[in-house]
């Protein structure tokens, strides 16, 4: 199944200057009962986003029309906790193309990449610069260029490079997924099995 190709984005962004945002916040466990990947975006950050009666919580950033854009910028250690890929489906389903933070949990990083959502790890200083820019102007923009592996704080012109291995970069640029690749390795997998320690 091809994933969406990642193209360069320049957009206003949604700031969430909270550390250790765990996957239970991104998508609470009670919304994991679905058997398809659809509809998770509606429940993204549910308990922070909605009151008990389902009405939007006024103070939450996704409910604030002043902030918009297809990039989420969050505090360090984003996506810790549960391995639920539903968190990546919720972020993609809501319409985010990339998440920017100074630190990502490993499983979340992998899940995002497998769903065409780019995790962009930046320095603490760069992250602070983005929060400062959006404080001054809620329509401040960020530009993410995957091909050149750079992120730019458009308000200040400040740029920083980010890491991604060339295999995954190629997948994202072209919309390839890992399963097609693994399925093409049938003979190599059988050869491995023939020599492996048997359990």
């Amino acid at each position: 199944m091809p994933i969406d190709k990642f193209v360069t984005v320049q957009t206003s962004f949604v700031p969430m200057p909270i550390e250790n945002v765990d996957t239970d916040q991104i998508i609470p466990a009670r919304f994991l009962k679905a058997t398809t990947k659809d509809g998770f975006g509606d429940n993204l950050f549910y308990d922070w986003r909605y009151e008990k009666d389902g009405s939007p919580k006024a103070g939450f950033v996704l409910n604030n029309p002043a902030y918009s854009g297809t990039v989420l910028v969050a505090g360090k250690n984003f996506g810790s906790g549960s391995s639920r890929e539903h968190a990546a489906w919720a972020i993609a389903g809501y319409g985010f193309k990339a998440v920017v933070s100074s630190f990502f949990a490993d499983i979340f990083r992998g899940n995002s990449l497998n769903n065409g959502v780019l995790p962009v790890q930046v320095s603490e200083t760069f992250l602070a610069g983005l929060f400062k820019a959006v404080d001054a102007d809620n329509k401040a923009e960020v530009k993410i260029d995957l091909e050149n592996q750079t992120i730019t704080n458009v308000s200040t012109g400040e740029s920083e490079g980010f890491e991604i291995n060339s295999y995954k970069k190629n997948c994202l640029m072209n919309g390839y997924d890992d399963i097609d690749y693994l399925l093409s390795l049938g003979e190599e997998i059988e050869a491995y099995e023939a020599q492996a320690v048997k359990f």
Binding site: N20, K33, T35, S80, H86, A105, N111, E188, V197
Partner: protein
């Protein structure tokens, strides 16, 4: 240069190395449950493919199942549909499933070890972050997302960058009332919830060696709570003794061959780790968490940190956490009100945990103000608890033994802690709303949970039990 235990197993499972990319890693055992597998089966179907090695896949529903009246149909429609979908997918693909009411049903990370499916030297994955539990046997075991579940089902391989290596040594003797849960909560409180990110951890040292298999599983189970990809402990006589005779353990000649191989699974003396830390077992005391991530833990006899001890940039998140918990920086932990006690989960739902809890509350009574849920990790644990008389002991002290499942650890079934209530839980996560919307969780060992259950407040177990 010598190799680490991790390197030995990892390197022997690499099917292919991709330049500046992940390794193609072969998977020996793949556990699945109802929550993170349906979309993976859906993906395979959409491609017109099939499950590659069904005999290496083991299924058990655990997250959604009720812990009372399991003989009745699951009442919640969505939960029932998800559990039935697992059953259908397993039937269509020839995968063994230990369904609800099967004598082997239970939490996936309890079932694997107790059936002897989990063995040293294996690569093991499951769409569940607590798969790290199986590392206690000297295997490489870690949680994966659903895309990777699909990869493992379709090809028996996944794509993984090789993580960095870390060794954490716990040396010396543990004090009275200090359990393996306290060891891991202590380590996480030192490293923080992201301190292990990017690493695979080997736990070593004399205090780790002295632990039973159940206790080792508790330590490895929570490796993910410091962000580590997984945790592992080199196999030894304790490991072999635990596995021997279990249903799927090697038998006869195969057993001798297996043990000879397993004995080679140790870190060489001259192997180097990217990071190495050593703690003194004597410094560890009964632990409890006070905040909304597992790194926010302290000794039960201590105080919540004061605000000025928190880094400036983290103060906002710390205060948000205190507000959620209804606590103040600098508060004393002992004496905090406890409304619920939950004993169970893949962290502390094994027979040894139930024994420890029962032994502690013997001759005492549950505090009237406390609602307690004692949930065995599997049908086999439940059966053993009944046979050993633990169920009667619990009932005599005012407790009830429920039926197995993940239960209030993540509250996908009806076992939800109400909003605003405080729970002392032996599970693994104290995130906001983890045990139900608005629930407030304090993580601790079965002993500290027992102390809270009989007093109704946070209590150092050493002050009320004869330990």
């Amino acid at each position: 240069m010598g190799k680490t235990l991790f390197d030995k197993i990892w390197d022997s499972h690499v099917v292919k190395t991709i330049d500046d990319g992940p390794n193609v890693l072969y998977i020996d055992r793949h556990f699945i449950h109802e929550v993170t597998s349906p979309q993976a089966f859906g993906g395979i179907k959409a491609r017109g493919g099939k499950v590659a090695r069904p005999s290496q896949v083991i299924a058990t529903p655990d997250h959604n199942i009720p812990t009372v009246n399991q003989h009745l149909t699951i009442q919640d429609e969505l939960s029932r549909h998800q559990v039935e979908t697992l059953k259908k997918n397993c039937e269509e693909n020839g995968i063994t499933m230990y369904g609800l009411n099967h004598p082997y049903n239970g939490i996936v990370h309890v079932v694997g070890p107790e059936l002897g499916i989990t063995q040293p030297g294996m690569t093991i994955v499951c769409g569940d972050s607590h798969t790290s539990t199986h590392g206690a046997f000297g295997s490489i075991a870690f949680g994966i997302g659903t895309s990777e579940v699909e990869m493992a089902l379709a090809t028996q391989c996944i794509m993984q960058p090789k993580p960095k290596s870390m060794r954490i040594n716990i040396e010396g003797e543990l004090g009275k009332g200090v359990t393996s849960k306290d060891i891991i909560l202590y380590i996480i409180s030192k490293l923080s919830t992201g301190g292990g990110t990017g690493y695979f951890v080997e736990f070593a040292g004399s205090a780790i060696r002295s632990l039973s298999m159940e206790a080792r599983m508790t330590v490895c189970n929570m490796s993910i709570e410091m962000g580590a990809r997984g945790g592992m402990i080199a196999p030894d006589e304790t490991t072999f003794e635990y596995i021997k005779g279990r249903e799927q353990a090697p038998k006869g000649e195969a057993w001798d061959k297996a043990v000879a191989y397993w004995k080679s699974l140790v870190t060489d003396a001259d192997a180097k780790f990217d990071k190495e830390l050593t703690f003194d077992g004597a410094d560890i005391e009964p632990m409890i968490t006070y905040g909304t991530n597992p790194g926010m833990g302290a000794k039960v006899c201590e105080y919540i940190p004061t605000l000025d001890s928190i880094e400036d940039s983290s103060q906002g998140s710390f205060q948000k956490s205190m507000e959620y918990m209804g606590f103040k920086a600098g508060d004393k932990l002992e004496g905090k009100q406890v409304d619920y006690v939950f004993v169970g989960s893949c962290t502390n739902g094994r027979i040894e945990d139930l024994r420890a809890f029962c032994e502690a509350v013997k001759g005492k009574q549950k505090a009237e103000s406390v609602t307690a849920w004692i949930v065995p990790g599997s049908k086999q644990v439940e059966k053993q608890a009944i046979e050993e008389g633990l169920k009667e002991q619990l009932e005599a002290a005012g407790f009830e033994l429920r039926q197995p499942g993940c239960s209030a650890c993540l509250a996908m079934n009806d076992d939800k802690i109400p909003a605003g209530k405080y729970a002392v839980a032996t599970s693994n996560r104290n995130f906001e709303g983890r045990q139900g919307p608005g629930s407030r969780t304090m993580l601790a060992s079965p002993l500290t949970a027992a102390a809270a259950a009989v007093t109704g407040v946070v209590t150092d177990p050493r002050t009320i039990f004869n330990l």
